[in-house]
């Protein structure tokens, strides 16, 4: 334990390098812009900018990219509060009370509350990562292929159980991801599969292209359909408003703690920031004595979802680093980046690349502090970006997406694929198929398949290998509980309150 603090101390030495601090500021600003603009979100923003970082050192690159992620998390709140348009899915719950506050002239207060709670949520999650991630990684060093597959199973099963969409839709979306990941060269046998003679498919589907298409192009199409017009409230944040709001915030410590716990839990299991923010909002509404006033501009209704969303978004990094299983689409893209830099996420990363890991963790602390200061001071600037009409923003974002898709592999065919994924993303969104499981499955498909085949190879094809020792059985058991959770909770509530027929 103590040595971890030594590592962290060294990590701060790396992260506090002036060049890295500059990268943090650049990353946060880019991230906020990405979070504010429709069609550019954390996941595809990072995906588009990933190729630009290939020439940097992995530590600087990941600092830049994670800060874009934090920035996007902050940025979602701005559009929600000022324009009633959630820039990101996880800030939908923030609109419920944030926008009414802005309408009644309390925009500055709402934004300060949102940013500060985001910061608190993220900070708690980072402290948790610092404490727990090394332990998880150490524990995971003992994992064999069967245990690895069980962890993947747990991750994907909790998607099925936690998702608010129909389980069969979540499974279809996830399995399509696995199928797309399987296309191309099979690493074990060296055989080509599922290419049906198309040379373009030799290398399979690149998940970065899928992310840019599904989230970028799909989002633009959705925004266009809604005939979006930005009619926002002006925001002025000065030191007085910030100070006033900060003075009221400690009153809501209970809401904060509750949202942090919800967020951290939902972030580690890859349910993600969006359900976490809704859950935190819902519980706060039920528990708070001002619950009835929720939806009319209650500051607690901003604190609860923002804290939870940020705690979830940040803690999604824990399983990504310690187990190699990302907890959110953006974490999945970051994991893809690590692989490209030749770093294998997972337990060995803490042993072999301790400097990188602790530099990254230290940069999370600094990045969020830098982020809080930056967003509080630059809100008017970002609000003015939103006033640029959509007929200019839309084509520019399309061009950015196309450039991003091309630069992944310097391949024009990828630009075509991006558009195909964009249409798929639009239709899937409209028919309530969740996109996150698809992306995670494309990223993890090969690793999950390898773990699956290796375990079966060791057992001679017997499925019972996944129940062969207490460790793997309990992870698989947890997975089953997570996957079947809706059924189980249904059963419980029926047992408790016998319903009249």
């Amino acid at each position: 334990m103590l040595e971890n603090f030594t590592y962290l101390y060294h990590g701060f030495g790396i992260a506090a390098d002036p060049f890295n601090i500059l990268l943090m500021a650049v990353g946060i600003l880019l991230g906020v812009i990405i979070g504010v603009l429709p069609g550019l979100g954390g996941a595809n923003g990072v995906a588009i900018l990933l190729p630009l970082t290939f020439s940097m050192s992995p530590t600087s690159a990941i600092i830049l990219l994670t800060c874009i992620y934090w920035g996007a998390l902050f940025g979602g709140a701005i559009t929600s509060v000022l324009f009633n348009i959630p820039g990101e899915p996880w800030s939908v719950a923030t609109t419920f009370d944030g926008h009414p506050m802005a309408r009644s002239g309390r925009a500055g207060e709402a934004l300060t509350a949102a940013f500060t709670s985001s910061f608190v949520g993220a900070f708690v999650a980072i402290v948790m990562i610092t404490m727990i991630a090394p332990l998880v990684a150490q524990f995971a060093l003992r994992f064999g292929p069967a245990e690895k597959f069980a962890v993947y199973f747990l991750a994907f099963a909790s998607f099925v159980g936690m998702s608010k969409e129909a389980p069969s839709k979540t499974i279809v979306s996830m399995m399509i991801g696995f199928a797309l990941a399987a296309v191309g060269l099979d690493m074990v046998t060296g055989q080509l599969r599922l290419t049906f003679g198309f040379e373009e498919l030799l290398n399979g589907f690149d998940f970065l292209i899928a992310v840019i298409g599904l989230f970028g192009i799909g989002e633009i199409l959705l925004t266009m359909e809604e005939g979006l017009e930005f009619r926002g409230k002006a925001a002025k944040i000065d030191a007085k408003v910030v100070w006033h709001t900060w003075k009221t915030l400690p009153k809501y410590w209970m809401t904060s703690i509750r949202s942090c716990i919800i967020g951290c839990w939902m972030g580690i299991t890859p349910a993600g920031a969006t359900p976490a923010s809704f859950m935190a909002y819902g519980i706060a509404k039920r528990v708070s004595k001002n619950g009835k006033n929720f939806g009319n501009g209650e500051i607690e209704g901003v604190i609860a979802p923002e804290t939870a969303a940020h705690a979830a978004g940040t803690s999604a990094m824990l399983p990504m680093l310690a187990l190699g299983v990302p907890g959110s689409p953006t974490a999945a893209v970051l994991l893809g980046g690590l692989l490209i830099w030749g770093l294998q996420p997972g337990p060995m990363l803490f042993v072999e690349q301790a400097e990188f890991v602790w530099g990254l963790i230290a940069s999370m602390y600094l990045g969020n502090i830098v982020g809080l200061i930056l967003v509080l001071t630059t809100v008017p600037l970002f609000a003015s970006i939103l006033r640029i009409p959509f007929s200019i923003i839309a084509p520019v974002i399309l061009v950015i997406c196309a450039i991003g898709a091309y630069t992944v592999n310097n391949n024009v065919f990828d630009v075509v694929m991006m558009l195909v994924f964009g249409v798929i993303g639009y239709v899937m969104k409209k028919t309530n198929y969740p996109l996150a499981p698809l992306v995670l499955a494309i990223v993890l498909g090969d690793a999950a398949e390898e773990a699956f085949r290796q375990s079966l190879l060791a057992s001679g094809g017997a499925i019972s290998v996944f129940w062969s020792n207490p460790l793997v059985s309990s992870i698989m058991g947890l997975g089953l509980v997570a996957g079947l959770w809706p059924l189980i909770s249904n059963l419980f509530s029926r047992l408790r309150t016998p319903q009249p027929a």
């Binding site: 129909a166 399995m175 199928a179 199409l221 630009v415 085949r453």
Partner: protein
Amino acid sequence: MSELPHGAGTGPSQRSAEIGVALLTLAFGLIVVYGSYIVGFGWGADGPQAGFFPFYVGLIIAGCSLINLVSGLREDARELFTEWGQLNQVLKVLVPTTIYVALVPFLGIYLPSVLLIALFMKWLGNYNWATTLAVAFGVPAFFYVTLERWFLIPLPKGPIEAMLGL
């Protein structure tokens, strides 16, 4: 409302969209199963064959698609997927974007980008020519400088760029 064949208030129903998507995923699942069948999905001399994992993935896709198909059939036929007017808006973006993507392999990325931005601003935004041209040329020029000059990342170029000697 539903008597009007066009205009506000009508459009393809959510039910047919759900059914359509379920059928598409079903077809996709079957293609995956077939593709796995070609390369072999059984147990080879050295363990599971290449099609082993995707075979079951394909089966699960097909199975769950059937569930989605049934629940889609049970959906209320009156609920709208989107209105025709909204779909029109989507096509206004989708059609130019498709043409843009189709042009990129031949003309490089710069010229189609200029055309795309100019088209949007003129057609959807009704801007005057000066503003339109400034943005339409300014944005690609910005990417040229940042990407090709600073980051040394080459973007696809076509005959026009070759003529200009870029």
